[in-house]
């Protein structure tokens, strides 16, 4: 009886859902809004909302509705939320995804339903290669690209040997593989840690120290990056073995890492001080709208995602049923990215520059990230040949 009641209720609710009549542009946004990494999700949401403000909260004259869903950093939850957004909310676009493992779990649902998925962070190698899809676009990078740039930079510095440490999940493996593919010196050791539960890296740091490597490379996004730098400094390694990083120091972790992060280089496709007018507007308005906060690369990618969607919606004059035309428009990357030069490869992964960033004290005496040099220009990921889509 009770069951029948619930069932009836659910059906009424399902009927009450407005059909996708096309008077609003519906966007689903899957990211992490709870737990220790919620700060990343918040930054992505803030930036996406700011982009909508800049667009007048309309695309091709139609109001935009965004539904935010929390994946809790768990692949199974992310998949459920993706299904919910596509099947019951009937969104036109689905955006977000911080974590490669969450994206990989959710990918099939989006592709099978021919819903456009814009990943605003995760870039697993599979997505750039065999799993590439006409319905999937990235406004970030493929995981290997950033550490590849770090490897190139280490070659420039004449580093002879490195010890690699990273988390044991899809992105961690891509990151370490990325450094190895460009770094010309010797890789003396490679350690993977349990993700996301392991937060104490004493055993790994001891091994790195005893390996006599000339340098250490790590990839630890979010709070894990704070913990790693703490322990690296406490072990007295800071003056001893130089550290190179990818996605370990950003505007969210920097207030916690403080002096520990000073002088530790990393590579990134976006840095807050890039001299493009779109970027200045983004950074300034972000700091105005969200006082006390600074945008991160996660946010910059989400901001770009909103503009990419807008370009597609404008091209079809708001008729989101014209999927082929929207796809063709997005492939042109017909929008101004805050990171500057931006075009798409055959696999819908950006071809873009990677910059060397350093931690410095800015004019207000606060620690901030600064662009030092361009490491590689117009870099394309190394999996695009494996993607069956051709230009």
């Amino acid at each position: 009886m009770k069951k029948a009641f619930w069932l009836a209720g659910a059906m009424v609710l399902a009927l009450a859902q407005p059909a996708s009549a096309g008077d609003t542009i519906k966007i689903g946004f899957v990211s992490t809004f709870s737990g220790p990494t919620a700060v990343i999700g918040n930054d992505m949401r803030n930036s996406f909302e700011l982009a909508l403000d800049h667009l007048g909260r309309k695309m091709a004259g139609k109001p935009v509705e965004v539904i935010y869903e929390d994946d809790g950093q768990k692949p199974d939850v992310g998949k459920q939320k993706t299904e919910k957004l596509i099947q019951s909310d009937k969104v036109d676009f689905i955006v977000g995804y911080i974590w490669s493992n969450v994206l990989l779990a959710s990918l099939k649902t989006a592709v099978d339903s021919k819903t456009f998925l814009i990943t605003a962070n995760a870039g697993p190698s599979q997505l750039a290669g065999e799993l590439c899809s006409p319905y999937v676009f990235s406004t970030s990078w493929q995981n290997d690209q950033t550490p590849q740039a770090v490897g190139t930079y280490m070659n420039q510095k004449g580093v002879k040997s490195v010890f690699l440490i990273g988390p044991n999940y899809a992105a961690g493996k891509d990151m370490l593989a990325g450094v190895k593919s460009t770094f010309k010196g010797q890789v003396v050791g490679e350690e993977y840690t349990v993700w996301p539960s392991q937060l104490d890296f004493s055993a790994e740091l001891t091994k790195a120290k005893n390996s006599k490597a000339e340098s250490i490379f790590v990839f630890y996004p979010g709070a894990a990056g704070v913990q790693f730098l703490n322990q690296y400094a406490q072990a007295g390694l800071k003056g001893q073995i130089p550290l190179y990083t990818a996605f370990t120091i950003d505007e969210l972790t920097l207030p916690l890492q403080k002096e520990n992060a000073l002088g530790i280089p990393g590579a990134q496709q976006w840095v807050n001080d890039l001299p493009f007018p779109e970027n200045k507007k983004f950074v300034e308005d972000y700091r105005k709208k969200y006082t006390g906060l600074r945008p991160t690369f996660y946010g910059a990618q989400s901001y770009d995602a909103a503009n990419l969607i807008n370009s597609a919606v404008v091209a079809v004059k708001g008729d989101t049923s014209k999927k082929d035309e929207m796809k063709a428009e997005m492939e042109k990357a017909n929008f101004k990215s805050v990171r500057g030069p931006f075009k798409y490869g055959n696999n819908h992964i950006p071809i873009q520059n990677f910059y060397l960033q350093d931690v410095v004290k800015d004019a207000d005496g606060q620690l901030s990230l600064k662009t030092v040099a361009t490491i590689v220009e117009n870099d394309q990921d190394r999996y695009h040949d494996k993607c069956p889509m051709k230009k």
Partner: protein, 305 residues
Amino acid sequence: MLVLIEQSLNGLQFGLLLFLLAAGLTLVFGIMDFVNLAHGSLYMMGAYFAATFVAWTNSFVLGILMALGATLLLGIALEFIALRHLYGRDHLDQVLATFGLILFFNDAVRLIWGPAGLSLPLPAWLTVPVQIVPGVFYPAYRLSIIVVALAVAAMLYFVVMRTRIGMLIRAGASNREMIGALGINIKLLFTLVFGLGAALAGLAGLMQAPILTVQIGMGENILILAFVIIVIGGIGSIRGAFMAAIFVGMIDTLGRAFLPDLLRTVLSSAAASTAAPALSSMLIYLLMAIVLVVRPEGLFPASKR
């Protein structure tokens, strides 16, 4: 050889930290027969208090002492307001109620301190590595964790084995009804034990804080390990918790340190690097499973009830 010494110290430090957390849990579980899932929240509160007080007072030692007192008071208040009404209920009710407390504490922290987490910087004299034997440098702070935890363990041993309160605690662990019948104020004893457990959890949290970040939900992963330890050591037994915590700390750290190299001798390098962290995190659960089969009452059970 030197590497082995250093990795063993890492394991010892991790084990002792786990002991502080497990000691409180085993006391509360063993003596009061109360399942407290919110023990990890007290660990988190200890860390948040420490980060706040150290920032206020600008003194690391003073801030930490204040945080310790605050966690003790919080534990006593928690017991007095909420938990003492649950003693007569069965374990499922207690699990549900204390799980609710976890959610309460997580959101309370989010409201008070915000979602971003805090950092607890160390004073300069604790950030330098110390040479313990020629050729082995060890972080001073980790060394101080070992010293403090060993001192606390010794003190706990003295209190439990050599004082009147300790006698009552041991009597409570063996037979709760009997000491009540002998006219001991069991309510007061329970409040005291719970406060002590809370302070120990807070101590573990605030000592871990400079190594990790202070963040919401930081107590949840480590609580699982604490439960594993009290199961291995025997519920209610401080000595068991101590031995089991050292075992678990050592197995976990040495597994992470040496398993990848061992596996590399039989597997390809890539396969070994991915399999090793998974296997080493399984080792402690394997140990627990074996203990449960061979000695279900734990390795060092408290005296029989």
